[in-house]
Amino acid sequence: MGGLLFASAVGVTPTPSFFQELAAMVLPTLGHQIMAYAAFGLYVLLIVGGGLAAALARTLVRALMGLVVTFLGVAGMYLLMASPFLAFMQLLIYIGAICVLIFFAIMLVRNTASGEEMHLPGLGQAAFAGLSAVGVLAVFGPVIVLNAGALMKDALPTETPLAELGEGLLNYYVMPFELISVILLVAMAGGAFLAYERRFKAQDEVTKP
């Protein structure tokens, strides 16, 4: 079972021979494994902590901050799996765009600190939530643990070159690529149409008797 490594390239530079000797010294495999497991533990901590804050916080802005922490944890996990492109896209799209969108929604619907979320959910609701979470874990957890060992590959994951991803998007998966641009266009148009407020609506109401 191999350890999982960080996916950043080492600088390939022309260096004098002293540095070459230094470059040849690699950390032992045990060091790699310890670092990888420590990083994984940190990211799981970020995910669980942020997730609990996002699910249970009493103020919506605190829930949003918890969501941001969760996204950071997931981006770290993508880095551990040698997908730096995906990690940066996660940061760019989720934190840079979706979280900002949710913040504007919070501001627009004026859910202040004395809003609905301050009341704790009733006992029935809380019990149902806990039961469903535990149920999901109990059903899928053992399936994963028992079957995953047989499915793993032996080598470490390597970074796919960006050119390969681009080729995939433009050669074989060009249909989903075009469709997703259509979906985004429709979402933008639909959002603008739904939220559009007629400019002179206030004036009409004033002139009506």
């Binding site: 996002a54 249970l56 799996m81 619907v109 609905e116 979320e117 809380a126 999901v136 994951p157 985004l184």
Partner: protein, 107 residues
């Protein structure tokens, strides 16, 4: 010791479970949207883990699928938030208990 694939899939499962807890116990639409984003993240993480850590050369496909999921999540969040603005204008609140006009007035 469990294999790394199991560890990553369990982390994705945790995301799913916590997202479910949030979705069920939240009382406003915005809170529910936050939980739904967490669910989508869990799905993306499990897709990439399944693609990258199994043999078969599907690395690129897994990453592309995760990117599509991200794009769809963004489009969905934008639409849901626009709907929320409309709901707020109509009902003057986004608490889900207030949105009951489709309920039969049976009593």
């Amino acid at each position: 010791m469990t294999s790394p694939l199991a560890l990553f899939m369990l982390a994705a499962l945790l995301l799913l479970a916590i997202g479910l807890v949030g979705l069920i116990s939240r009382r406003t639409l915005v809170g529910m949207l936050i939980s739904v984003e967490m669910l989508l993240n869990g799905a993306g993480l499990s897709i990439v883990a399944a693609a990258k850590l199994t043999p078969g050369g599907l690395d690129g496909l897994g990453q592309l699928a995760a990117i599509f999921v991200m794009g769809l999540a963004a489009a969905e969040a934008a639409l849901v938030l626009a709907m929320m603005v409309v709901v707020y204008r109509r009902f003057d609140t986004v608490a889900t208990e207030a949105l009951t006009t489709l309920k039969d007035a049976e009593s």
